[in-house]
Subunit: 333 residues, 2 copies
Amino acid sequence: MRYLQYIGLALPLMMVISATAAPSIQSEPIQPLSKPLIKNPAMVELGKKLFFEPRLSKSGFISCNSCHNLATGGSDNLTSSIGDHWQQGPIRSPTVLNSSLNVAQFWDGRAKSLQEQASGPIANPKEMASNHVLALDVLRSIPAYVNEFDKVFGHKQISMQEVTRAIAAFEETLVTPDSHFDQWLKGNKKALNTQELRGYQTFKTAGCVACHNGPAVGGNSFQKMGLVAPYQTSNPAQGRAGVTGKDADRMAFKVPSLRNVALRAPYFHDAGAPTLEAAVTTMGQLQLGRSFSQQEVGDIVAFLHTLTGQQPRIVLPILPASSNNTPRPTPFN
Amino acid sequence: MRYLQYIGLALPLMMVISATAAPSIQSEPIQPLSKPLIKNPAMVELGKKLFFEPRLSKSGFISCNSCHNLATGGSDNLTSSIGDHWQQGPIRSPTVLNSSLNVAQFWDGRAKSLQEQASGPIANPKEMASNHVLALDVLRSIPAYVNEFDKVFGHKQISMQEVTRAIAAFEETLVTPDSHFDQWLKGNKKALNTQELRGYQTFKTAGCVACHNGPAVGGNSFQKMGLVAPYQTSNPAQGRAGVTGKDADRMAFKVPSLRNVALRAPYFHDAGAPTLEAAVTTMGQLQLGRSFSQQEVGDIVAFLHTLTGQQPRIVLPILPASSNNTPRPTPFN
């Protein structure tokens, strides 16, 4: 959607500047990321606290950052996440970086927005295993939180509405601009070396760019995993079909953004590809019906490394202390 | 030891300034914390990465910061820590804040230094559950780490010696100066209110200060838990006796620092006291043979709140990506 809108805007521009010879941003299917605009710093700061808040979980041990670790590319980089009581999650956790650019949240897009997404894991018995009543009781019992919600929202009644809005406001700031590729897009032709450029050309000509396009290099559509040949996996996830109920959506997953993809092996919703090389090879075979040569794989992987941008600089929040009335975590029952 | 050394220095000073009427730092049994001197910023930065590094655990999920969370007072504030496969730890995790001031590390003092301490949890099957061979294999497989160790230590051979030295260097910076009480000690008589001052007087006259003294307000000696009357607990920890083998050391634990104590309920090695009020009451009964009145408890608790200092401002490290050769985490086997 965003990409289509962009094209709508870009076409007239392209005609205006078509006289210039060098490739321009407008002629590329990928656009550079912009630094996030922070509209409400106080809300972002509160959202950051909540993102790092382990007391939103039943155990007092798991926070949003546990599975979307901002020290490691916004994800846990495990084959599947670890939830309350060490339960194995059903799927590989997606990165929170640049997630505001996604058409929807979760691999199956079942949450329309970051705000809608944020309430899910808190109450999921396999993830943070709390519930919204308990999570709100915890926050309401901590005077510093009550005051901070008041400052941000103008009232002291904390509901999940405010909690998830603040978390989403923080997550919207987690954008990673200024990758080598973005520098190249903006006109610094030395930002990519020959192999990286060759990789980008192959990425375009082979058709990867059909799904991985736009500012996030993906994230803006759902596609069937295993288009040309079926994807072999023991993971039972059926993707988009679970949301739409349509058989045609079976194995349709959100196309992941390739921004910072080099930071977060393993790949795919089932973590079936341990390396970028394996992921590129499989994608070529199953989505494009094409066996990439070893050199092509190496070139594309070199290009993908240029999508690693400037990671957000996060000052760890100092969370307010529990009061005597704060419900205590119960990790072992 | 540190405290005794300090007294040795302080006594001559006290004589020099004894003519001044106002209470001076030198006449108090607690001294203000100083800002940490950072001798080797590159080593501290590397140590910070390692402190937040989940790949030092078998699961790829647990880092030093999991149980010594710098967002929550340097500890997890659970009754006992959560280790690999959600194993319940034997004891309440001590805070890493101001831990450089401790006479020794762990509740039973079995590690002489922060450096010695740091290697323990990585290989403890109930904690991070890795082993030193695997942890080093992980670090050695990541080129950015190899380069950073080279920059800091002048060679590319990474051993546990360098790993733990860097972690300790980071931990040494985790000091919390400038509490209200420190401001008061330094001469700002408005920094404490009447109740807080009364609490401090009771803290001194009742004898709490016999163990909780020095810059860390504790941390500099081992004392029997249950001096006047035995401490009732289902926790099997026997304290210092496990290290010295002496029956006399049974139930002797390191006196915890009371710096920032208001941030980290529950209290005691077994987390037996859910609130500061409960902890003060129990300490009075079992260590001093004294039943504090409700007002005395309230006063002492008010004083203890003034020991919350300036928390270290930690910029979350951006950890280098795994390479294709990095051993992958194995959280579920």
